[in-house]
Symmetry: C2
Subunit: 109 residues, 2 copies
């Protein structure tokens, strides 16, 4: 039985929801957002206006960082970006289709 | 006896050299570069052309990230950026005057 596009989309959906549920319950996690690579919000536990601005700004930063990584060394590729600020730690993980944004309270390092 | 600007500059110089020496001997560290905030190379253990391009591109990325952090939340401030790529891990630490760039081989996470 062939896998239909709808089945694949449904499976991916479940996967996104599972990922968000798993992450949002972790200690220190403030919000979890899944974005398309161009910054559209697919799912977020943050307030809508916050996830929209995260989508816009962080997807741009990731695109810039990905370009810089390839410019520094051909064949190299960005996989993860971690932004530590005075108040938060923002983790940005890339896969082929999505950008996962996890905001957590800063960890002691 | 007043501390002269020259003494302060000399002290800062020693501090930079000590920091570089301490970091470059750590396991996995590929290069250590100290930049001004606008990307001028002050010291680097990398090849000159590599440190120049790092200075240009990474200082721009840090400026963009700092702006984004402040746009996401007023009063927040960028302190550290970690870029994980397929081949390297690039750590960018900011202080008031300098940008410290440490490139290391990727750590298992």
């Amino acid at each position: 039985m062939a896998l239909h596009a709808d089945d694949a989309a449904a499976a991916q959906q479940i996967d996104i929801d599972e990922t968000i549920n798993r992450l949002k319950s972790k200690s220190g996690v403030e919000s979890v957002t899944v974005l398309t690579k161009d910054g559209r919000v697919i799912r977020s536990t943050a307030a809508p206006e916050q996830s929209e601005i995260q989508g816009k700004l962080l997807s741009r930063l990731v695109r810039d960082a990905a370009e810089i990584v390839e410019e520094l060394e051909a064949q190299d590729e960005l996989s993860f970006l971690r932004i530590r600020t005075k108040r938060h730690e923002i983790m940005l993980a890339l896969d082929h289709s999505y950008l996962l944004v996890i905001v957590q309270s800063p960890q002691k390092e």
